[in-house]
């Protein structure tokens, strides 16, 4: 399961990251690294991009990059 498969409200843990995409490296610089807990807050029209929250801040992530983040869903809060 990847970050792109989550629905708004989901909380998940980042398991592994495929770093072949330069956009993914930028997201890692912003703090999206393995083992952190993320919260999918929203999606824009058409489901893309995603608004991902972690450590008190939000980042906009396109689906294209979200697919490179493998996650485990932890809970589902409506």
């Amino acid at each position: 399961m990847t970050l792109a498969d989550l629905v708004p409200g989901d909380i998940a843990k980042l398991e592994s990251i495929d770093t072949s995409d330069p956009g993914v490296i930028r997201l890692m610089i912003l703090g999206m690294v393995e083992d952190i807990i993320v919260h999918l807050q929203n999606r824009a029209i058409g489901g893309d991009p995603l608004e991902v929250g972690f450590f008190g801040s939000s980042v906009s992530v396109r689906k294209e990059q979200a697919r490179h983040f493998k996650v485990t869903r932890m809970t589902k809060s409506g």
């Binding site: 610089i29 029209i45 396109r62």
Partner: protein
């Protein structure tokens, strides 16, 4: 706070008060409150806004303390030293002393937002590799407390190897005095220890730098190893041998991407630090989150976006009217008074028709422009503009750009000049240029006077639901500008500027209540820029136009000869005829008639044509020029410019300002690039003449073609 060193008085301070000027560089993440803190410390005014990348210029200020003055530099916000946008590269180059003409900073004040220390500490850990005296200002400390984040500052200082941390709130002023006191001692701080987040990297780099010699600082070696500075990578390979370098890299990064390895190492350490010093780690902030979530739900958000835009245009039109009427009355009265005092002569005509009518016809739009800017500043400062780039990313992708182009384009509704500078946040040069070519299509505030004049004169003030027809036409013109811009981006991105799909990675700020003082200061700044333009460029243009319209004076004998048959007509009519004849044979009239054939297919007579041509350096001049031309050639000064336009006729008696002609003129103004400042900015930002020349030629051509098509088809339909 940090342990204060023993009080020792340096020799040079005994007896004489030294005016030591240490230079302290402020650096931090975008939106960390860096610019606000800079303002609080220096008292200097400058732009601070709530979206990443607004501080595009180098800002310098002085912190005046009782016994000394400190020089402060504010830089664009960055997330790391591996910056990939033009904006971030500027900041990184300045910090690393690689910017020619700028001294390497002697000490750093790292600004960290207390509600976002996770990301702030990452940059701090990188900056510690510079080995400069470093302090931390922990901003928004009250917002953090309000959201339940409690940071043990002492414990954090210890984890960071003794870097002094000053918790401050720029809003309440809490902690500022302590920070100022601390800054006076910044140069006496010892260089920071090896950062604890990845000691292996730092120690390896330190050893290599000693081995390589004085040209290599620890940070240079790190950047060469991380492969973030290409020139350094080559140099290191040359000096050490590429096999040895590859070996070192393998030992540090194994087979991972070097920067990815760095983020993993440093953030792992940061996570453990936060667990030890911060009481609560909220998954997301409560402050404004509900609003943020609702306004980000796809449909409400998009709907809200358009409602906000419509509301802005409605307000621009209806709220400003009483004020505009007052200004109009005042300038009319002033002109009449001048003529009454001085009588009819060159001087009174110059003052009344040239200065008052010309400048007054532009000043009248000040209320509308202030209202427009008020909305834009509030949207900017509340964080809504950043939300729109998230929201509009999909739309922008369809024309080959990304959400990152949205903020420059939206701020272009105010003025294209800062918006072209704001494109620096866009990493790819091709995308950046495409955005620069699209941005000038957005309806800037200088277009507003001509739109407002023509709409008020020729579009009926008819209510349409809770809006009125005039507001809707204005909205339509804004849409026309947006379509022109997006179409241009699409065209360029699928031809000359074809490139890889742009990336879109953006930190989204929370909603914040705009600070009243900041809004007021910015509004004042904008207003005074407009008035200054009216007082200089537009004043000068109005003067030149008056001279061209007033001279050469017609020979009285010549005039009598032409009107000898109308001896019997009333004196006022006689005067009319005289001024019309005078204008027509003036230099302006002669020039106008030479260029008239170019614009006749658009339905413009020589007066409109010469006003439009005079508007090429700055488009709002056109209103001033029309004000002057129609004042010089008109009978009654108590008529407004709109009424005078309505009364304008071709020599054969046909109305000049017909609906197709006015619509064409509006379209011309929606698309044409009449702004020397924009061209100069494009030239500076692209560092080539190619793009400003292209932008001007392209926009002028499609403005002309648009006006031509509308006038010709409109005239066919209406006959």
């Amino acid at each position: 706070m940090a342990d204060k060193p023993e009080v020792t008085i340096p020799v040079n301070k005994i007896g004489i008060r030294q005016k030591a000027k240490a230079t302290i560089t402020l650096i931090g993440n975008p939106n960390a409150g860096k610019s606000t803190l800079f303002n609080r410390l220096t008292g200097l005014r400058q732009t601070t806004a709530n979206y990443p990348g607004v501080t595009v210029e180098k800002h310098q200020g002085t912190l005046q303390l009782p016994d000394q003055a400190l020089s402060l530099i504010d830089l664009p916000g960055i997330y790391s030293l591996d910056g990939d946008s033009a904006d971030e590269r500027i900041a990184v180059d300045v910090i690393l002393g690689r910017m020619s003409g700028t001294e390497k900073p002697s000490s750093l004040l790292v600004v960290i937002d207390a509600t976002h220390i996770y990301r702030g500490l990452y940059l701090l850990e990188q900056l510690l590799e510079l080995q400069l005296p470093t302090m931390v200002a922990l901003t928004m400390i009250d917002a953090a407390t309000a959201t339940g984040i409690n940071i043990d500052v002492r414990a954090l200082e210890k984890k960071l190897g003794g870097i002094p941390i000053y918790p401050v709130s720029s809003i309440s002023g809490h902690g500022l005095d302590e920070l100022k006191q601390g800054l006076t001692e910044i140069t006496q701080l010892k260089p920071p220890l090896i950062p604890a987040s990845w000691p292996e990297l730092s120690e390896t780099a330190e050893q290599l730098s000693q081995q390589l010699g004085a040209n290599w600082q620890r940070i240079d070696v790190i950047q060469a190893l991380l492969q973030t500075q290409e020139t350094l990578v080559d140099q290191l390979d040359k000096q050490l041998g590429s096999e040895i370098v590859a070996d070192i890299r393998h030992r540090l990064f194994e087979d991972a991407h070097p920067v990815a390895a760095e983020t993993r190492q440093r953030y792992r350490w940061i996570k453990s630090v936060i667990a030890g010093v911060q009481e609560q780690v909220p998954l997301y902030l409560k402050l404004g989150v509900r609003l943020a979530r609702w306004t980000n739900r796809p449909w409400p958000a998009t709907l809200l976006f358009f409602v906000v835009l419509l509301l802005v245009f409605q307000a621009v039109f209806s709220w400003a009217i009483p004020l505009m009427d007052a200004i109009d009355d005042a300038s009319g009265a002033l002109a009449t008074w001048i003529v009454a005092q001085l009588g009819h002569n060159a001087l009174s005509s110059f003052l009344a028709d040239g200065v008052v009518a010309g400048v007054g016809s532009v000043i009248i739009f000040l209320p509308q422009i202030l209202i427009l800017f008020l909305f834009i500043i509030i949207l900017e400062d509340s964080g809504y503009l950043a939300r729109t780039s998230f929201l509009m990313d999909r739309v922008m992708r369809s024309v080959g750009l990304s959400g990152q182009s949205v903020i420059p384009m939206l701020s272009s509704f105010a003025c294209a000049v800062p918006s072209i500078m704001a494109t620096r946040v866009i990493p790819s040069r091709k995308d950046r240029i495409a955005t620069m070519m699209a941005a000038p299509f957005m309806t800037c505030s200088a277009r507003l006077p001509i739109y407002a004049l023509l709409i008020a004169a020729f579009v009926p003030d008819r209510p349409m639901g809770w809006l009125n027809l005039q507001g809707i036409v204005l909205f339509g013109l804004y849409v026309l500008g947006i379509l022109g811009g997006l179409g241009t981006a699409l065209l360029l991105k699928s031809s000359a500027l074809k490139g890889p799909k742009p990336r879109f990675v953006l930190a989204l700020p929370e909603f914040r209540r705009p600070n009243l003082q900041t809004v007021a200061i910015k509004l004042l700044e904008r207003g005074s820029i407009f008035i200054k333009r009216a007082g200089t460029i537009i004043f000068a243009a109005a003067m030149v136009v008056w001279v061209l319209a007033y001279f050469p004076r017609m020979d009285n004998v010549e005039f009598r000869a032409t009107v000898v048959q109308s001896e019997l007509s009333e004196p006022s009519q006689m005067e009319n005829l005289q001024s019309a004849a005078q204008l027509s044979q003036s230099w302006l009239g002669r020039i106008g008639k030479v260029i008239e054939p170019v614009f006749v297919p658009l339905g413009w007579d020589w007066r409109v044509s010469s006003a439009v041509v005079a508007g090429f350096p700055a488009r709002e001049v056109v209103v001033a020029v029309m004000g002057t031309i129609y004042a010089v050639g008109s009978e009654a000064d108590d008529q407004s410019l709109a009424e005078k336009l309505n009364a304008a006729r071709w020599p054969d008696g046909r109305t000049i300002f017909t609906l197709p002609m006015v619509l064409g003129l509006l379209i011309f103004y929606a698309w044409c690039l009449q702004c020397a400042a924009t061209l100069a900015t494009i030239r500076r930002e692209t560092n080539s003449w190619r793009w400003p020349i292209f932008a001007w030629t392209y926009m002028t051509s499609i403005g002309y073609i648009g006006a031509l098509v509308v006038f010709q088809t409109g005239s066919l339909v209406s006959t």
